[in-house]
Symmetry: C2
Subunit: 311 residues, 2 copies
């Protein structure tokens, strides 16, 4: 029997399915940016975990301080996607035995200082060394956060309805391009912007995530979660300098907020532009299709070569 | 300038130092089995993270279900060391691209089923693939737990005083020996025993951890944390069948409770024997020395070849 190759998105679908209906304490289960658990009648906590795999997410010769910082920033971006406030981080690292003590100290400094800077101190961790020098280093950060919204409100990925607007903070594209200054290594997680947005829009902010895999894939996730399709107007995409709409929808690691809302969002949040880039529409067939309106014609993201992401 | 080699214990000392005095919310910081954070005036949460590195902690050809189970059990053992109750787990895995979809599903099943069995459902996670096939798989589990003790009581590693007894649950040694049935892969975390012990001994249970690196090293950790030395009577060590005192103090991954108490502990906990194996003594010089009384003569653990563990 031929074995199936590893597919992250197929496995995530399985994890999400098994994660539903776990217990009364689990208020929001796998498949969202963070999981939420209840602690008694009035206290809730959010938790998420994210990895930086050297060679995959950063170059092997990258400054270890920047690797540690990125590992924490990715998690802080998940906290922003829930309009929550971070309170602590905990880290685990598996390092190649060829790494020096100094390298590991700089990695730790990157984790520690970034956590402190965002009121999410590093409160614990685990360190292991690989057996073989050629094994890739892995840095895993788990983040704890508390909600800023009333008990009955959670901004998950799944609240969009037909006619809701799709909007994004900041500018998109080119984050992985070395000419772009290495934004994927050092970006401001949109925590304060998300909290202000949730306050300004109230219940009209219906779904949100952070753009990690590119707007094409991440808008598809909001659409799938709402049982809808989504149509993006290419001309409205806020592109970083030197980027066209292709990079704005296709490049990953922007770490901006992508959200669905029932009325016009504010034009600015803490000095950051907010742009409406599309609208959620009916899904005649399986939901999650992302359509792109370019020069008056409608094209499917799938036809443009971006893989549809299941989760 | 020559670079210093990677040393887990030296790095841990640095992490512990930086982790002190972080914020009012951090009630117990790095260096203990779990970190504790406060959530408002009456709610506290414990968190720990632990990794299973394939090749280091399990064989590369091990059943992935057993790898997932071990990753959760190691964390549950940390929860036991705090006399706490687990409430949720979150996992991250970095896998070699040569692993199959079926392999990853079995890993996930091991994580999911073990968490459920101990009321700590898997509520989220992250999956990444390495770039190179030869990179070792890493499975990181973070566990959340709630205390079972009153707000003013925490059983950390650092409560021992001169004259306190050193005691251990169950039997020791041979856990890594294939003839021992692979106990390091499947062991009962002593959660209920720890909670009962904390209830029976009350404030006379003064320090505790779980035996992960062998009694020689782990008793040294309790001694260091208390600013003391400790003397173990070899004849009293409860050995697993086929093991002598050398294995009972030197072998790792027993995952029994090792604790300091101010009066005689119960002889049994939930049918599990409890044995007093030593006593904390003054440290004339740097604390943390472990002495072993064998056939009437006192020998130093350091002289017997077990590395002194700094943390």
């Amino acid at each position: 029997m031929k074995e199936q190759p590893l597919s992250e998105s197929r496995l995530h679908l399985r994890f999400d399915r098994l994660g539903r209906g776990l217990s009364d304490r689990v208020l929001l289960s796998p498949g969202d940016d963070m999981a939420m658990i209840g602690l008694g009648s009035s206290s809730r906590m959010l938790v998420a975990t994210d990895q930086v795999v050297v060679g995959r997410h950063v170059r092997p010769d990258e400054d270890p301080h920047a690797i540690g910082r990125k590992a924490v920033l990715r998690n802080l971006s998940d906290v922003a996607a829930m309009a929550a406030r971070p309170i602590a981080t905990i880290a685990a690292a598996s390092l190649s035995p060829r790494r020096s003590h100094d390298w590991a100290e700089r990695l730790h400094a990157g984790l520690h200082e970034t956590g402190l800077a965002f009121d999410a101190p590093l409160i614990g961790g685990d360190l292991a060394t690989h057996v073989h020098e050629d094994s890739a280093d892995v840095v895993t950060v788990t983040i704890l956060a508390v909600p800023t919204l009333p008990l009955d409100r959670v901004i998950s990925r799944s609240g969009a309805k037909v006619g809701d607007l799709l909007a994004v903070t900041g500018r998109l594209g080119g984050s992985l391009d070395p000419a772009g200054g290495g934004r994927h290594l050092d970006f401001p997680p949109r925590i304060e912007e998300a909290i202000e947005l949730a306050g300004l829009l109230g219940p009209d902010l219906v779904a949100m995530l952070d753009v990690s895999d590119g707007v094409a894939r991440d808008a598809g996730r909001l659409a799938v979660a709402g049982g809808l399709n989504v149509r993006i107007n290419a001309a409205t995409l806020p592109c970083n300098p030197g980027c066209g709409w292709e990079q704005a929808v296709g490049d990953g690691e922007d770490y901006e907020l992508l959200f669905a809302c029932r009325r016009q969002p504010p034009a600015m949040l803490h000095g950051l532009p907010v742009t409406v880039i599309g609208r959620f529409i009916e899904a005649p067939n399986a939901p999650g299709a992302v359509e792109l309106e370019v020069d008056g014609s409608i094209r499917s993201i799938a036809d443009l070569g971006w893989e549809h992401a299941g989760s």
